[in-house]
C-alpha cells in the first residue's frame, strides 16, 4: 500500500488566486480534517488513479470536477463564497484486497443542489468526473442524502404499503410473469397469455421492456386486449389483478397519451423503462400521483454502467435516485436467477428500497446511514430465470415485500400457462405457511415443495422440469468487505 500524502490547501489568498495551475488539493478540494455536516450530501467513489497520480490529489480532483473546479485558477471565484461551493474530499482509503483502487469520500454543501431534481443532482455528481484523464476508472459506490434534501422529493407515487391496500393482497410476495415471447405476438394472442397467467393464480402480468408499439402490435391493441384479460381474470378468481402496461415512448406527449388510455381502461398500474431518463421519470411519477396509478420501473440498460466494479455507478445509487424520483416497483435482481447479482449485494438494494432508515452495512454494500424521512417504500421486483423450485431461497433472501416474476417459469410449463401460474402460487403459499409455522425453509424448502407437489400436479410437473436448474456463475459486483466472494446459490 502506498503511503497517502497529506497536502494542504493554500490559505494565502494572493498565492491561491495567482493566475496559473495548482493542484486540486492546494485549491481546497481536499480536507482530511473535515467533519461532514448532517446537511451535506455525501458520495463515495471508487477511483483508480493513473500510474504516478497521488490518490489524495485524485480524490481532490474528483471533488473539484464534481463541484466548482476547472483546470486552472480563476479570479472570479473571489466574487463568491467559494468555500461553500467547493466539494471536500475528506477521506481516502485503499480498497481492501484490490491494489491500485481507493475509496474516496466527498462532501457537498446543500447549496449545490436544486430541490427535487435528479437531473441537477446527477449533472453535478456524475457530470464530468467519469471522463477525467488522471483517473483510469471511477465508480460511484454510494450516496447519503440529508433529510432536508430528501424532503424536496415526493418519492413513490403509491408506495408498497398503499399498493397492497389497493390490491387487497397482504402477507406474502406478489407473483408476476412477463409475457413471452417478448416480440411478435398480436394483441389478441398476447392477451391470451395474460389471461391464462392471471387466471392460473398470478397477481400481475407484465409487458417486457422493449414492447412499445411495433408493427406486429399497436399499443392501443395491446392495452385493449390486456385489460379484457385482466378484468375477465378478476371475475373468475374474485381477486384484483393487473398488467403492467408499458407506456415507454419517444416523447413525453406520447407517454402521457398512453398513460391516459391505460387509466381510461381501468388499469391499476403502468410501466416505464429506465432508459427514458430522469426528467421523464419524475414527470410520469407526478402523473401517476395525480391519477392513482402504480408506477412500475424496469431497469433496462442499467447493466451498461452498474455491473463492472471498477467503473460506472453501483445499482444501490440508482435505487436511491429512483426512490427519490418516485417509482413504486423496481427490478432489483434475484441473486439465484439468470442475471448478475451477489446475494448480499442484492439484499442491499432491497434494503434501499424498503427500509425507513438504512444503517451502515458494509457486507451488503451500504456505506452510509440514510434516513429516508418517511418517504414511501419501493416494492422490489425479482425477475429473470427464477422458478418454483427456488421458492424457499427467494423467500429466505427477500421476505414478503417483493414481486416474484416467473416468466419462462410460468409460460414454459409443460401443462400450460395456467398450470405454470398455479404451480408458482401453490409453491409460494405452501412456503409462506410453513415459514410462519416456524419451519426452517432454507433447509426444509425442497421437502416442503415435494409435500405440496403430492396434491398439486402442476407443481409436481414444474419441479420435474426445472427442479435442478441453477445458474452458478461467479458474480462480478460483490462486496469488498467479505473475505471471499459469496457464491451464487
Amino acid at each position: 500500500m502506498n503511503e497517502l500524502s497529506n497536502p494542504q490547501e493554500i490559505t494565502d489568498k494572493k498565492k491561491r488566486y495567482a493566475a496559473g495551475v495548482l493542484k486540486y488539493a492546494q485549491m481546497g478540494y481536499w480536507d482530511g480534517d473535515y467533519e461532514p455536516k448532517d446537511t451535506d450530501v455525501l458520495a463515495l467513489f471508487r477511483i483508480t488513479p493513473q500510474e504516478g497520480v497521488d490518490p489524495i490529489e485524485a480524490a481532490a480532483a474528483v471533488a473539484g470536477e464534481s463541484s466548482t473546479a476547472t483546470w486552472t485558477v480563476v479570479w472570479t471565484d473571489r466574487l463568491t463564497a467559494c468555500d461553500s461551493y467547493r466539494a471536500k474530499a475528506y477521506k481516502v482509503e485503499p480498497v481492501p484486497g484490490t491494489p491500485g483502487q481507493y475509496f474516496c469520500y466527498v462532501a457537498y454543501d446543500l447549496i449545490l443542489f436544486e430541490e427535487g431534481s435528479i437531473a441537477n443532482l446527477t449533472a453535478s455528481i456524475i457530470g464530468n468526473v467519469f471522463s477525467f484523464k488522471p483517473l483510469k476508472a471511477a465508480r460511484l459506490e454510494d450516496m447519503r442524502f440529508p433529510v432536508a434534501y430528501v424532503k424536496t422529493y415526493k418519492g413513490p407515487p403509491t408506495g408498497l404499503i398503499v399498493e397492497r391496500e389497493r390490491l387487497d393482497k397482504f402477507g406474502k410476495p406478489l407473483l408476476g410473469a412477463t409475457t413471452k415471447p417478448k416480440l411478435g405476438l398480436s394483441g389478441k394472442n398476447y392477451g391470451r397469455v395474460v389471461y391464462e397467467g392471471l387466471k392460473g393464480g398470478l397477481d400481475f402480468m407484465k409487458d417486457d421492456e422493449n414492447i412499445n408499439s411495433q408493427p406486429f402490435m399497436h399499443w392501443r391493441d395491446r392495452f385493449l386486449y390486456c385489460m379484457e384479460a385482466v378484468n375477465h381474470a378478476t371475475a373468475v378468481t374474485g381477486e384484483v389483478k393487473g398488467h403492467y402496461l408499458n407506456i415507454t415512448a419517444g416523447t413525453m406527449e406520447e407517454m402521457y397519451r398512453r398513460a391516459e388510455f391505460a387509466k381510461q381502461l381501468g388499469s391499476v398500474i403502468v410501466m416505464v423503462d429506465l432508459i427514458i431518463g430522469w426528467t421523464a421519470i419524475q414527470s410520469i411519477s407526478e402523473w401517476c400521483r395525480q391519477n392513482d396509478m402504480i408506477l412500475h420501473m424496469h431497469r433496462a440498460g442499467h447493466g451498461t454502467y452498474t455491473r463492472q466494479k471498477s467503473h460506472g455507478i453501483s445499482f444501490r445509487v440508482i435505487a436511491k435516485w429512483l426512490r427519490l424520483a418516485g417509482v413504486d416497483h423496481l427490478h432489483c435482481g434475484t441473486a439465484v436467477g439468470k442475471l448478475e447479482g451477489d446475494p448480499l449485494t442484492v439484499q442491499g438494494y432491497y434494503n434501499v428500497c424498503r427500509e425507513t432508515r438504512n444503517e451502515v452495512d458494509l457486507p451488503r454494500g451500504i456505506f452510509f446511514e440514510q434516513d429516508w424521512g418517511d418517504i414511501k417504500k419501493v416494492m422490489p421486483v425479482a425477475s429473470g430465470g427464477i422458478h418454483a423450485g427456488q421458492m424457499h431461497q427467494l423467500i429466505d433472501l427477500f421476505g414478503d415485500d417483493v414481486v416474484l416474476q416467473f416468466g419462462g417459469g410460468t409460460i414454459g410449463h409443460p401443462m400450460g400457462i395456467q398450470a405454470g401460474a398455479t404451480a408458482n402460487r401453490v409453491a409460494l403459499e405452501a412456503m409462506v405457511l410453513a415459514r410462519n409455522e416456524g419451519r426452517d425453509i432454507r433447509n426444509e424448502g425442497p421437502e416442503i415443495l415435494r409435500e405440496a407437489a403430492k396434491w398439486c400436479k402442476p407443481l409436481e410437473a414444474a419441479l420435474e422440469t426445472w427442479g435442478n436448474i441453477t445458474f452458478n456463475y461467479t458474480p462480478t459486483d460483490t462486496s469488498d468487505f467479505v473475505p471471499t466472494a459469496t457464491p451464487a446459490m
Binding site: G171, T234, T237, L265, G266, G438
Partner: protein, 129 residues
C-alpha cells in the same frame, strides 16, 4: 367458484390447528388480529363487517380462536377472514390476511361489459348466487 383472495386460498382449507399456528406467528410479531365476515366477496368490497375491534391487547391465540368460533356460529355460511394489523411507523396497515371460513356453496362473479368509445369496454362485476 373458489374465491382466491387472501394468503392461503390456493392451499386446501386450513385446519384449526393450522389457523392457530398462523395466529401465533402474527402475535409473535406484535400484530393485532381482527375477525371480519361478509356475504359479498366482490374484489372491491374493502370493508367486510367487523366481528368486534381488532384484539390489540390479546397475546394468546386461544382468544382469537374463541372469537373465530363465535363468528362461525353466528355466520356459518359467510366468508370469514383474519386480518393482522401492524402499528409500526411506516407500515400502519394490514400485514397478513387469510380466509378461514367459506360458504358451503360459493357464489360466482359475473362480469358485465358495456361498449364505450371506440373498441373500449367498461367492465363491472357483480356477485351472483
Amino acid at each position: 367458484m373458489r374465491i382466491t383472495q387472501g394468503c392461503f386460498s390456493f392451499l386446501p382449507d386450513l385446519s384449526d390447528a393450522q389457523i392457530t399456528a398462523q395466529v401465533e406467528y402474527c402475535l409473535e410479531n406484535g400484530w393485532a388480529i381482527g375477525v371480519e365476515y361478509t356475504d359479498d366477496p366482490h374484489p372491491r368490497n374493502t370493508y367486510w363487517d367487523m366481528w368486534g375491534n381488532p384484539m390489540f391487547d390479546l397475546r394468546d391465540a386461544k382468544g382469537v380462536m374463541m372469537e373465530l368460533d363465535a363468528c362461525r356460529a353466528a355466520h356459518p355460511d359467510a366468508y370469514i377472514r383474519l386480518n393482522a394489523f401492524d402499528d409500526t411507523r411506516g407500515v400502519e396497515s394490514v400485514k397478513m390476511s387469510f380466509i378461514v371460513n367459506r360458504p358451503s356453496e360459493e357464489p360466482t362473479i359475473h362480469m358485465q361489459r358495456t361498449d364505450f368509445e371506440g373498441r373500449t369496454q367498461k367492465y363491472a362485476w357483480d356477485v351472483r348466487r
